[in-house]
């Protein structure tokens, strides 16, 4: 997941706390899950437990965002905040991430499904039973066929582009299913890998075991859609709700108003609190104005959840009464740069290691906003919220963030480049990235590596500029600035797409270093099939170690965001699933 910071921070959680040694000071304590009834207060309270616990219904929740959703159609959305919003208010899926603080929030719970799936056939068949009494906003019951139809819509990428397509990769199985609009089946349910023996049973047939399959079904794109109500690429203008709220009015780019969905039965829903009577989302407010309104108590939260602007940071951090209403969760986003194994001299591992040692992570952290608003120094490629993360895995001893000139020079000598060499750093030309790249450039200069910056437009940076190997070779990109957050918080969701050598493609490539390590590849297959989450996590830990030893990626910051919550909010906590406040739980006092 890469795009502007925060614009597309999908999925991924944040346990700032596990890594408390790295910077955020004594505020952080290991969250004790289940302490929610008591409630917590103060700075970073919402990262530890529930602030202002309450079951009081009523009022209008006032949300604000600078930008509109990428799409309100669950199949087409990719922004993390939009997923949080959809899942919290109007899209129910078979399984949904639990609305709980701490590590419990990373788990999936049955939502439309009665219980977790029955997995048979060696992990290749997933069978779900639907709850009774679940309905669409028009009162008609949600059937297994509606869920199948909803998932089929993901296949219609010719019409409904923009969202994640993992589920297509898993369920297409060489059918070349074109999506429901070109489906020759009269019921438009021609996808063979999903079966609906009756209205309350749905069966997924996988070609090979995938232990994380449940996470794909928890994405909003896997929610049910009625064929009769499908308006194609206009569905996002008024999606049909299955959750506690429905669209009352939507003025694109200006305002979205949600009101209670009378056909949502709270008895069928163990996840959503549904406290406010109405939810207003004001779109298009200038970012500085959003901060002003937040601090004035005029709005409740900024749904972007990417942190307040620089101007507002001191107002919050230096005033105790304001600071008590703020949190700095880790967003689950990692900042790193890739070292291109196909661009000399980085085909030599010693030259790659020289960069690992020469990098000054402290100056790069500073360029990103420092420990509070930027994030903690990263030492390996699995962020703290992903199972398998090991803070002790630090093969280049970079916990302090300081460069190690002598070690770097040793590696340069071993690489046969005693006096250094020339290379190119690819970077986006916007945001904090140019400054961060300059910090890297300066650090490399100290060991004789002369790196030239090549800043380019952000819109096609990941897909074409560094996502096309032919381009990186032609331009001689030795080092490529990047950022990444998982679409779902597992090792598979986070790391596989970055390091699987078999997924290197000519455009839209995510394995920028072009690492094709057979050990990594076979470990990935092993992890995907491992049904025991603990064992899978161990394997991802091993993959992480091999990748770090290969020295193809240099992580430097695990992102944090300084977010502000209106004190009138109730039930506030950070869900680690998204690294932001759990929208589904929020309520307001008058």
């Amino acid at each position: 997941m890469r795009m502007r910071t925060g614009a597309l921070v999908a999925g991924s959680a944040a346990i700032a706390l596990v890594l408390s040694a790295c910077g955020s000071g004594g505020d952080d304590k290991k969250p004790s899950t289940g302490e929610s009834t008591a409630g917590v207060t103060g700075f970073n309270a919402a990262t530890k437990g529930v602030v202002n616990p309450s079951d009081k219904k009523g009022g209008t929740l006032k949300l604000v965002n600078h930008s509109d959703a990428d799409s309100w159609d669950p199949v087409r959305a990719y922004y993390a905040w939009v997923w949080n919003f959809q899942k919290g208010y109007y899209v129910r899926t078979l399984l949904t991430n639990a609305s709980k603080p701490g590590e419990d929030g990373l788990k999936l719970e049955p939502d439309l499904a009665e219980k977790l799936p029955e997995i048979t056939d060696g992990g290749k068949t997933y069978t779900f039973k639907l709850k009774a009494g679940v309905k669409f906003e028009d009162g008609s019951p949600i059937t297994s066929k509606d869920i199948k139809y909803g998932i089929e819509r993901v296949f219609a990428q010719d019409i409904l582009s923009g969202g994640p397509t993992y589920i297509v990769d898993v369920l297409d199985q060489d059918q070349k299913y074109p999506g429901p609009y070109k489906d020759t089946d009269p019921d438009k349910l021609g996808l063979k890998s999903i079966q609906t023996p009756d209205d309350t049973t749905i069966v997924f047939k996988l070609k090979e075991p995938l232990s994380d399959f449940n996470y794909l079904l928890a994405m909003p794109g896997a929610g049910p859609v009625q064929k009769a109500k499908d308006t194609g690429d206009k569905y996002g203008d008024k999606p049909v709700s299955t959750g506690p709220y429905k669209f009352q009015s939507f003025d694109p780019g200006k305002k979205l108003t949600l009101v209670r969905n009378e056909n949502w039965d709270p008895k069928t829903d163990t996840i959503r609190k549904a406290l406010p009577d109405q939810i207003d989302l004001t779109i298009g407010t200038a970012v500085e104005e959003i901060d002003n309104q937040l601090l004035a108590g005029d709005v409740d939260i900024d749904t972007a959840q990417t942190g307040v602007q620089q101007g507002a940071q001191p107002k919050i951090l230096l005033e105790a009464d304001k600071k008590a209403n703020a949190d700095t969760p880790t967003t689950g986003f990692i900042r790193y740069f890739s070292i291109n194994t196909k661009v000399p001299p980085f085909d030599n591992i010693h030259c790659r290691k020289a960069v690992q040692y020469a990098t000054d992570k402290v100056t790069m952290q500073t360029a990103r906003g420092g420990a509070d608003a930027g994030g903690d120094i990263a030492v390996n490629m699995l962020p703290p919220n992903i199972a398998g993360h090991d803070p002790a895995l630090d093969p280049y001893n970079t916990k302090s963030g300081k460069p190690q000139i002598d070690k770097a020079k040793e590696e340069l000598a071993a690489c046969g480049k005693k006096d250094g060499f020339d290379t190119v750093i690819a970077t986006r030309n916007a945001g904090k990235e140019p400054k961060t790249a300059e910090a890297l450039q300066a650090a490399l200069k100290n060991v004789g590596i002369n790196a030239r910056l090549d800043p380019t437009d952000a819109s096609l940076y990941f897909r074409s500029t560094i996502g096309a190997p032919s381009n990186t070779h032609a331009k001689g990109y030795g080092l490529m600035m990047a950022g990444w957050g998982a679409d779902f918080p597992t090792g598979y969701g986070f790391l596989s797409i970055l390091v699987d050598g078999r997924t290197i493609s000519q455009s839209g490539n995510n394995n920028y270093a072009e690492l094709n390590n057979s050990e990594v590849n076979s470990l990935i297959d092993k992890a995907k099939a491992e049904t025991d989450p603990k064992k899978a996590a161990d394997i991802w830990g091993q993959i992480n170690k091999v990748v770090m030893d290969e020295a193809v990626m240099v992580p430097f910051v695990y992102d944090k965001a300084l977010n502000y919550r209106n004190p009138r909010l109730t039930n506030v906590f950070v869900t680690e699933y998204y690294g932001m406040y759990d929208f589904a739980s929020l309520g307001v006092t008058k």
Binding site: L8, Q157, S161, E288, S505, G508
Partner: protein, 333 residues
């Protein structure tokens, strides 16, 4: 005169076609020529090459550029049909295309945003004309006085200070510190005229400050020049009161260049005041364009550009016609 207007209208249409062609080239052809694949901007991050290709076909980006452009022009005149999945959507003329990001027709979006931009532009225009011209006249007549120097310093500050500075400071002070004006979202005039003015007032003043400064300087210079004209002396020699000399004889000449600039400024603003609309969170054409640029929504960018060009061309035409009304020498030659 009729002939003249017709000729100008034909030129205006030709100009708009040229603008559309150039905009089209800039946003559709150049990225392609530079090796970028625009279709890749509109797919999710895990999209396969097949998905990219499907999107390319959907957006028509697989066609040669002249066919894409031809379709665009045809859409404006005759409308177009779009496949939206389960059905076909007809985008009736004038069809400015179909947003790549939100799959909405561009024309209704523009029309929807126009009242906000018009409200902003007209309100600001009234203020800056009033204060800019008055300030310039006073400055010129009291040349060298404290009033003159003050006006010129404010004018200099006005042109030098960017909107995103004055706008933010104004909002911070008047909305959040002193609570004189309400913040919050824009409201329509017809729903709540007082709220509408309340929300827009700071934006008007801020935007007007930028323009008033230019008008003050222009008016002052023009007034100084005019006051030394022979016909002003003649007016005095006739025994006219100074008020009449300045307010009628001199102003008539001063207003000529002001009208020209004013027409162009207003025309430009109707195409969207990007900074002001962004800073004051006003959902107008300018905000639409900046949002479109941020997400590379080419049809909206194209639509906004053409919309803006349309207003400028029309403003030019009106200014020329107005010129003929003001200056008889233009009318008759």
């Amino acid at each position: 005169m009729i002939n003249y207007i017709l000729r100008r209208l034909v030129t205006a249409v030709a100009l708009l076609v040229a603008v559309s062609a150039v905009t089209f080239l800039i946003f559709f052809a150049i990225p392609k020529a530079a090796g970028a694949d625009p279709a890749q901007m509109y797919v999710g991050k895990s999209a396969t090459p097949r998905d990219v290709e499907a999107t390319r076909v959907k957006l028509g980006l697989d066609q040669p550029i002249y066919i894409q452009y031809g379709r665009f022009l045809k859409g404006i005149v005759a409308g177009r049909d779009y496949n939206n999945g389960p059905s076909v959507t007809h985008c009736s003329a004038p069809c400015f295309g179909y947003s790549f990001r939100t799959d909405r027709e561009v024309w209704p979006l523009l029309i929807d945003r126009l009242p906000v931009t018009v409200s902003l532009a007209l309100g600001a225009a009234v203020i800056w004309l009033l204060f800019g011209v008055a300030g310039g006249v006073i400055s010129a007549l009291r040349r060298g006085s404290i009033a003159d120097r003050t006006a010129m310093i404010i004018a200099l500050a006005g042109v030098s200070l960017p909107i995103y500075f004055t706008g933010l400071v104004a909002q911070q002070l008047f909305v959040h510190t002193w609570n004189i004006f309400e913040g919050g979202e824009y409201v329509n005039f017809k729903d709540d005229p007082a709220g509408w003015a309340n929300k827009l007032f700071l934006a008007w003043v801020t935007l007007a400050l930028l323009f008033a400064a230019q008008y003050t300087r222009l008016t002052r210079a023009q007034m100084l020049e005019t006051m030394s004209e022979d016909y002003v002396r003649t007016a005095r020699a006739k025994g006219l009161k100074e008020r009449v000399v300045v307010g009628k004889h001199a102003m008539r000449s001063v207003l000529t260049p002001i009208v020209t600039i004013f027409g162009l400024d207003l025309g430009g603003l109707l195409g969207g005041a990007i900074l002001t609309e962004s800073v004051f969170s006003l959902p107008g054409i300018g905000r639409l364009s900046i949002d479109a640029v941020n997400v590379k929504d080419l049809p909206i960018i194209l639509g906004v550009t053409l919309f803006g060009a349309f207003f400028i061309v029309i403003a030019n035409l009106l200014v020329d016609l107005l010129y003929a009304v003001i200056d008889p020498r233009v009318r008759l030659s």
